[in-house]
């Protein structure tokens, strides 16, 4: 083979490898979960957002990771994502269905409700048959009572809400076997909690990382790895749209 032909072959091969590398990288990095856009559904300065926590994510590649789901505002389907968008200067009424068991927590910091309207959350427990009367709670004793499963915290906005848990140790932490815990999977009637609270988004657009702060990453030293540090599971992004 002549020298120019060799050089051409090598250059083409090199470019092919580079292109392949870039493609793989983008595929990996770009594999971002979809964003649920709630902005068009806001009215009267309020928007209702519904989310769910489950003990596993059987829909994904990491079936044992705890995860959040967000409800699509149009189809009401549960989507395996933690990205959602809301308009600026709006009261966000959050409803979180907690299908996970409790995680005992040594640190009382994360047992406080902060940054929400009235600094409280409204909790109703469902034991599989009936809902308890909703109560407003501002502080959980997370250590002694094993009463929370995760938190929904947006450090950039000062919001931190512990997600109450049905304290059901015997039933393991798998309150439903497949995720999402909905009627289609036959799990909607598993014991769970309904947590409601609302917070105000700031003026101006911006991205705010939110995440769970209770070390719930089973299989990681001190529970703070894996799903705790991964967008799409226990970490997410709130996009405030102008």
């Amino acid at each position: 083979m002549s020298l120019p032909a060799r050089v051409t072959t090598l250059v083409i091969a090199f470019l092919a490898v580079v292109a392949g590398g870039i493609f793989v990288s983008l595929h990996f990095i770009g594999a971002q979960p979809p964003t649920e856009n709630y902005t068009p559904y806001a009215s009267g300065g309020e928007v209702n957002v519904t989310m769910m926590t489950t003990a596993q994510s059987t829909v994904g590649q990491k079936p044992d990771w705890v995860t959040y789901f967000i409800q699509n505002p149009a189809t009401k389907q549960w989507v395996h994502t933690t990205y959602f968008a809301v308009p600026e200067n709006t009261t966000v009424n959050m409803t979180i269905l907690g299908y996970d068991g409790c995680t005992p927590l040594r640190n009382p910091v994360w047992g406080r409700v902060t940054g929400t309207a009235g600094s409280v959350e409204n909790v109703s427990y469902f034991n599989g048959k009936t809902y308890s009367a909703p109560v407003n709670i501002s502080t959980f004793n997370t250590y002694a009572n094993c009463s929370v499963q995760h938190t929904f915290s947006i450090p950039g906005l000062g919001v931190s809400v512990p997600i109450a848990s049905v304290t059901t140790l015997q039933e393991n932490n798998n309150l439903c076997g497949t995720s999402p815990c909905d009627t289609a999977n036959g799990d909607a009637n598993s014991p769970h909690t309904v947590v409601k609270f609302s917070f105000k988004t700031p003026n101006g657009s911006g991205n705010y990382t939110w995440q769970c702060f209770i070390p719930c990453g089973l299989g990681y030293v001190d529970g703070n790895g894996g799903p705790m540090a991964t967008l799409g599971y226990m970490m997410g992004q709130l996009e405030v749209q102008a």
Partner: protein
């Protein structure tokens, strides 16, 4: 680049087609196949582990994938070819290993120290500029105390990549200049262990790719220090950090061995210890540090990997491990590492200074002693990184003393510089500007180091931006300035082309001003209470931080001048360099630019020291064509040193 005469490989059979011969393309295939094999093996092994099952994270697959990736890469390169040929009793390849002339040899596993030097130069520049891009990202995030360009995880990803990339650039001087110039300086035709040398280079692309691959796994949260147990907790990106850093550790051990043995065993007759150029002294001391310190790093990284895969719990308190163990291991390597980065800088500037002052080096022995003093002391100071850690406080006065003692041998370097400048005839060429810039930058880096050695003052400064500014002054301001000085000084010899002088001066002034404008305010920022590696800081520090960020962008711009100059001068303008553009006495300058394949036609006999400027009675530095029989053979190193003294007398 002129073609180098390539010694013909001894072949008994007709050569294989070119695309079957080892090269970067076969290496790449080997690496990809190796990773796939290792990943599969890891999945096979790890699937039985309960921890893997609960965490859904199989670190075995990643680590074994990397192991086999490196192995496949080296096999593909042909690193083991000669080894097996020898075992099978077949003739091995020619002396240089590479078969092609021209540019192709730079993409091959070669035993020519000059080719490896150029490979290293380009490789280390790639490391440096990649790390620099991450630095720009860090400064972009820090433009605002609260608004986030990067997410919390993204910021740590970038911080970790920047720090580790830059710290893995340990062989930035040993690689290019050590490998290329040292044999020329000591009058040798070769290095002691060309295979080790080539291996040390060819591990660096692997380490580079593996470190960057951490981004695919979400990065690693620990910064370049990788403190356990956070590094045990982190995700799969942590494996990439530990593996890449450990791999680089192996690479620098190999480079260090080669350097030490080359300097000790391959000096030409008459190259006494008292005539050794200062740069060679710095390479010798650096080599010793590499060989002695880097194994501890490799051990530490290995323990992280076993903690993460086999759950050995070296660093986990609940199971009898200790996080202090990691801190001690890391800094036992980490502090000599700092001097591994400083000493080559001292060597380069000590080499440049006599040439451009037209004076002998002042206090040659003091300078060499200074380097050795720094090297030895550097092993006895590591706990000053742990003054607040809660380790036995009794040790603090001792480590305070040893740390402060280092300023004595470092002071020697300044004595040498100031003595050399005395009544000099300074020629302010670009290399000289960079050398002087290095002395001024390192002055601030060194002086602030004294603040950090004093426990009470350190209690404020520790872990803050003050420390960050301090070591950027010593490494960026010291080593990198010296390295750039070395590039401007030696590139005519390395590549046979001269870098543009006017652009070089612009490059220096832009870099010097923006560098100081970037890092000087960071001392204040740190003292005002901003810890390292944070993405949120006090609002009243925004003005200073913004100033720093804008300066950092300008600093990046000044480096673009260098890239422009480098690429244009070496590729487009190609202004032929004379043999000795700086009228230097160094042995390397007595050779053509670039030197021929065998460096020296005959092994030279060294007649006098390299710094005898202004001494009309001084002999030329070497006799390049010694009378036949003087050395009794053409092999350096095997010749006894005795005849040399006879010649001189």
């Amino acid at each position: 680049m002129t073609d180098v005469i390539v010694s013909q490989p001894i072949q008994t059979k007709p050569p294989r087609p070119w695309w079957l011969q080892p090269g970067w393309h076969t290496a790449l295939i080997g690496a990809i196949a190796g990773y796939a094999l290792g990943h599969w093996l890891g999945n096979f092994i790890g699937s039985g582990y309960q921890q893997v099952a609960t965490s859904d994270d199989n670190d075995f697959a990643i680590v074994l994938g990397y192991c086999f990736l490196v192995l496949g890469w080296l096999i593909g390169l042909g690193v083991f070819t000669d080894l097996f040929r020898q075992m099978l009793g077949r003739p091995i390849n020619g002396q240089n290993g590479h078969r092609n002339g021209g540019l192709a040899k730079y993409f091959q596993y070669t035993l020519d120290h000059k080719v490896v030097g150029i490979q290293y130069l380009v490789g280390m520049l790639v490391y440096f500029f990649t790390g620099g891009l991450f630095a720009i990202a860090i400064r972009t995030e820090l433009l605002s105390p609260t608004y986030h360009v990067l997410s919390a995880t993204g910021y740590l990803e970038v911080v970790g990549e920047h720090g580790t990339m830059m710290m893995m650039m340990t062989s930035v001087v040993v690689g290019p200049f050590g490998n290329y110039i040292v044999p020329l300086m000591i009058g040798s035709k070769r290095v002691a262990f060309p295979r080790l040398e080539a291996l040390s280079f060819w591990l660096t692309p692997c380490a580079y790719v593996i470190l960057l691959s951490a981004i695919l796994f979400g990065g690693f949260p620990t910064g370049w220090t990788g403190y356990a147990p956070l590094s045990i907790q982190g995700g799969e990106g942590m494996d990439a950090y530990a593996f890449a850093f450990g791999l680089m550790g192996i690479s620098i051990i190999a480079a260090g061995f080669n350097m030490v043995c080359t300097v000790i065993c391959y000096r030409a007759p008459g190259m006494r210890w008292s005539r050794l150029p200062m740069f060679v002294w710095s390479m010798l001391t650096t080599g010793f540090l590499l060989v002695l310190a880097a194994p501890v790093l490799v051990g530490g990284m290995y323990m992280i990997l076993t903690d993460r895969t086999a759950q050995t719990a070296f660093f986990v308190n609940q199971l009898g491990g200790s996080s202090y163990l990691y801190e001690d291991l890391f800094w036992f390597f980490g502090h000599p590492e700092v001097y591994i980065l400083a000493l080559p800088g001292f060597g380069i500037v000590s080499e440049i200074l006599p040439v451009f002052t037209r004076k002998p080096l002042f206090g040659y022995k003091v300078g060499a002693a200074g380097m050795f003093g720094v090297a030895v002391l550097s092993f006895f100071v590591w706990q000053h990184h742990l003054f607040d850690s809660g380790l036995d406080p009794d040790m603090r006065p001792l480590f305070m003393l040893t740390t402060e003692l280092i300023s004595i041998p470092t002071g020697f370097i300044y004595l040498v510089a100031m003595g050399t400048l005395w009544k000099a005839k300074i020629r302010l060429k670009t290399p000289m500007l960079f050398a002087l810039g290095m002395y001024i930058n390192f002055l601030f880096g060194g002086i602030t180091g004294v603040f950090l050695s004093d426990v009470p003052a350190d209690t404020t400064a520790h872990g803050s931006f003050f420390v960050m500014a301090h070591f950027h002054y010593t490494i960026m301001g010291g080593l990198i300035f010296a390295f750039f000085g070395g590039v401007y000084y030696w590139l005519p010899k390395l590549m046979g082309v001269t870098l543009n002088e006017r652009l070089g001066k612009i490059n220096f002034w832009a870099m010097f001003i923006t560098f100081n404008s970037t890092f000087m305010p960071l001392f204040a920022v740190g003292m005002a209470g901003q810890p390292r590696r944070v993405f949120e800081y006090a609002a009243n520090l925004q003005t200073l931080n913004d100033w720093v960020s804008i300066s950092a962008f300008a600093l990046g711009g000044s480096l673009l001048i260098f890239i422009f100059n480098f690429v244009m001068s070496t590729v487009v303008w190609r202004e032929r360099a004379p043999q000795n553009p700086w009228q230097a006495r160094g042995l390397e300058w007595q050779l053509p630019s670039p030197p021929p394949a065998e460096n020296f036609e005959h092994i030279p006999v060294i007649l006098s020291g390299p710094y005898e400027y202004g001494d009309p009675t001084a002999l030329p530095v070497a006799d390049l064509h010694p009378p036949a029989g003087v050395i009794g053979g053409a092999l350096a190193g095997t010749a006894s040193g005795e005849p040399a003294t006879g010649v001189e007398a």
